[in-house]
Symmetry: C2
Subunit: 131 residues, 2 copies
DNA sequence: ACGCATTAAATGCAGTTGCATCTTCGGGGG
DNA sequence: CCCCCGAAGATGCAACTGCATTTAATGCGT
């Protein structure tokens, strides 16, 4: 049953921390530099691509993101400002907001994904990330 | 030679992200709630405990932290404000600053470490965190 | 000894985040 | 039909972070 001792746990946590810090820093930097978006923005685009129709309700997006509701709201606002997504009301429930990829959004995601893969290959492959 | 495919890399990254988000959120919350310090503050105390004499130069601290130089400077300022560390000049190099644990700092770290271990045991043991 | 590039640390500033709150809307009771 | 509670999103606010710059001190070359 794994039986992880305390010291072992701390070591694993340090590994996760090291891995996360290195990769997220490199990823954020690369995405910002090459495509003008941050990790959070990319994550949103990624979720929208995964959704079959390319649109989701804010609430559903929030569920699959590691971001508070307010942070997500602002992230989507930035994406909309940059023309990468559109927000539209939902007829069924007028409180809900649909977030939908634009053509520019798909394009940006496609390019950004290449960068993401490259950064992961460079910084995650090298990392042990496992005890 | 591991031969990690692209999809595999992305999956591993998602795992790290999930693990980090869950644990860091719980940890930060627990430390703040129970001891009035955040993760960064705890990390600094932890490094100082690890240092045999209980003191380090800012520059050395910076090297072992996943934090920018400016963020570290402010984190130490908060710790000093709370009386958990003391800053003192270094005679050898008057640009350098020594950061030294106070008795209160040792005490706080000791208690906080218990909380840390508990959170890790609860949230990290459950996580797969490895592909 | 003087100046200049470099290093350690601090600080102004802008950007992102989370919490609490606010607004708007939906869904029951009475 | 009206009222109240809860849900979906947006927003004010304070805290933390990183970047760029500043201040102060070291030391190397002349």
């Amino acid at each position: 049953m794994t039986e992880t001792g305390e010291t072992d746990l701390v070591r694993r946590w340090r590994d996760v921390l090291a891995c996360y810090s290195t990769v997220s820093c490199a990823l954020d930097r690369a995405l910002q530099e090459a495509h003008g978006i941050g990790m959070s923005e990319f994550e949103v685009l990624d979720r929208l691509i995964d959704a079959s129709c390319g649109d989701l309700r804010m609430h559903d997006l929030a569920g699959s993101m590691y971001l508070s509701q307010s942070a997500l709201s602002r992230t989507v606002a930035r994406l909309e400002r940059d023309g990468l997504v559109e927000r539209s009301m939902c007829a069924d429930d007028r409180r809900a907001i649909f977030v939908k990829l634009t053509a520019a959004g798909r394009e940006r995601h496609s390019r950004a994904r290449t960068t993401q893969r490259a950064v992961l290959a460079q910084h995650l492959a090298a990392e042990p990330a496992r005890a």
